[in-house]
């Protein structure tokens, strides 16, 4: 099983979409929320995702396809 710590950012009407619930319904990915800040027009949620590596990547690609931004909590590590 692989784990990834990521931040989802929702913009505009997406703030109201149950993206995290849908992710766990569509893919065998465990979601574990640690921090969040949701406002009317923008919101972010920091969470850990756990699942088989390939399923995890498919899940992240699906989240991105909804227009949600997905970034590592560490920020970019390339330097």
């Amino acid at each position: 099983m692989a784990k990834l710590r990521v931040t989802f950012t929702f913009v505009g009407v997406q703030v109201q979409d149950p993206v995290i619930w849908q992710l766990s319904q569509k893919f065998a990915v465990k979601t574990n929320i640690r921090r969040a800040d949701i406002k009317d027009d923008i919101g972010w949620v920091t969470l850990e995702l756990e699942g088989e590596e390939e399923v995890l990547h498919q899940g992240i690609e699906w989240v991105r396809s909804t227009g949600t931004e997905v970034e590592l909590v560490t920020g970019d590590v390339i330097g």
Binding site: E48, L72, T74, G75, V77, I78, G79
Partner: protein, 407 residues
């Protein structure tokens, strides 16, 4: 001896032992090194620093490792040069260039990697690793060689040949990844969780980042134990920007310099300016971008220290400047032709950003200003090679006079 006492979460304040960790296990906030400043205050002094080595390790009391075991390539204490020619052109009487391009692997990354490698040895890691677009790769590979560690360098597969050679020569395993920067970032995070390696800017990051404080200490010491009125700094993740300011403030808190009234000016290239864009938008929420800039050493689309950089700008009454891509090379030329210093593209961003700051009145003629040059121009030859047009002649005096009539 080291005065680091703990790692502390910058978000929730929870503390952890000084282990190889980079995020808070509770809230996933970033961790920062906490020091016993009272004990440091009893030890440190101007004399003690001045009697130390002519390297960054003269500030050992403020670094989170034991300097006696430092993995040291003689990094730091780089020249602070009075830039009289450039100052005259820009209208500044007290302009200084901090030339950090003369470090052992030709960039400021040696400061952070030296600390990270030393900490990695303390933890008895056998392997040093990083993901890099150039500067970090060379520094990690060189320090691993010095420390007798093995090293893994992960690079995007389209990285320029010169940068690959600049790292590969030290003997690391170089892994070129076919994919986007996002893919490289994600894979390296997964590798860091999987292998018992010291990833310098992942599990070593809290210690690694502290190395940049020495850029603040050195400038203050070289200016005769005072902070400048302005620092003009290039930014990628924003880490160095925040640490220079932290370094200056630590010196003030320890009584080594008078009150710090330094304005911190961040510069980013237009093709990757997420922090400066947030500043301009008046928000502390940095929106990630896809980098598309010739300043590749600044191409961090999702900057880890973006929020904290914006706080430094606010605290220091500084600002952020976005430099158009076409002005990056102009900045490189301006520095080279007037001060004899050849910088990489990040330095071009700094000099062009400085020019804009003066033009809009953010820096006054009589104020002490330091522009940070963090990498050597030979690393980004491709950015400027079109500017070079040698005169070709046959090996005769006649041919020379024909081409150069009035030498």
């Amino acid at each position: 001896m080291a005065f680091a006492t703990a790692l502390k979460c910058r978000e929730c304040g929870r503390e952890y032992p000084t282990d190889p960790l980079n995020v808070c296990e509770f809230c996933f906030g970033p961790l920062e090194v906490k020091y016993d400043y009272e004990a440091i205050g009893k030890t440190i002094s101007r004399d003690r620093i001045q009697n130390g080595p002519l390297t960054m390790w003269r500030y050992e009391d403020l670094l989170p490792v034991d300097a006696a075991n430092a993995v040291d390539l003689q990094t730091g204490f780089t020249p602070l040069i009075k830039a009289t020619n450039l100052g005259r052109i820009l209208g500044l009487d007290h302009l200084y260039i901090k030339n950090d391009a003369v470090n052992p692997t030709n960039s400021f990354k040696d400061r952070v990697v030296s600390v990270a490698a030393t900490k990695a040895m303390e933890y008895e890691f056998k392997t040093l690793a990083c993901a890099s677009t150039g500067n970090l790769a060379g520094s990690v590979a060189a320090h691993a060689a010095k420390a007798g560690m093995s090293s893994y360098i992960f690079i995007p597969s389209d990285l320029e040949r010169g940068k690959v050679v600049g790292a590969a020569i030290y003997g690391p395993t170089v892994v070129a990844i076919d994919g986007s920067y996002d893919d490289v970032n994600r894979l390296c995070s997964e590798l860091a969780d999987t292998y018992p390696w010291a990833f310098v800017n992942i599990n070593m990051r809290p210690y690694y980042a502290e190395g940049s404080k020495t850029l603040g200490y050195e400038v203050a010491e070289q200016l005769g134990w005072q902070a400048p009125a302005h620092c003009v700094v290039p930014s990628a993740s924003g880490s160095m920007f925040t640490k220079i300011y932290k370094g200056l403030n630590e010196f003030e808190d320890l009584g080594l310099i008078p009150k710090v009234n330094t304005h911190m000016h961040m510069t980013q290239a237009e093709g990757c300016s997420p922090i400066a864009a947030a500043y301009e938008a008046g928000t502390t929420r940095v929106r990630p971008v896809k980098p598309n800039t010739i300043a590749k050493s600044l191409a961090i689309g999702n900057p880890a220290d973006g929020y904290y950089s914006l706080k430094v700008i606010e605290d220091s009454h500084g600002d952020a400047t976005i430099v158009p891509e076409e002005e990056v090379v102009e900045g490189i030329k301006l520095l080279a032709e007037n001060e004899g210093i050849f910088t990489e593209t990040a330095g071009g961003v700094v000099i062009s950003g400085l020019k804009r700051l003066v033009e809009r009145g953010a820096i006054k003629r009589d104020e002490v200003t330091v522009a940070y040059i963090t990498g050597n121009g030979l690393k980004t030859i491709e950015a400027v090679e079109e500017l070079v047009h040698p005169v070709h002649i046959n090996p005769t005096m006649a041919a020379f006079h024909e081409q150069i009539p009035n030498p």
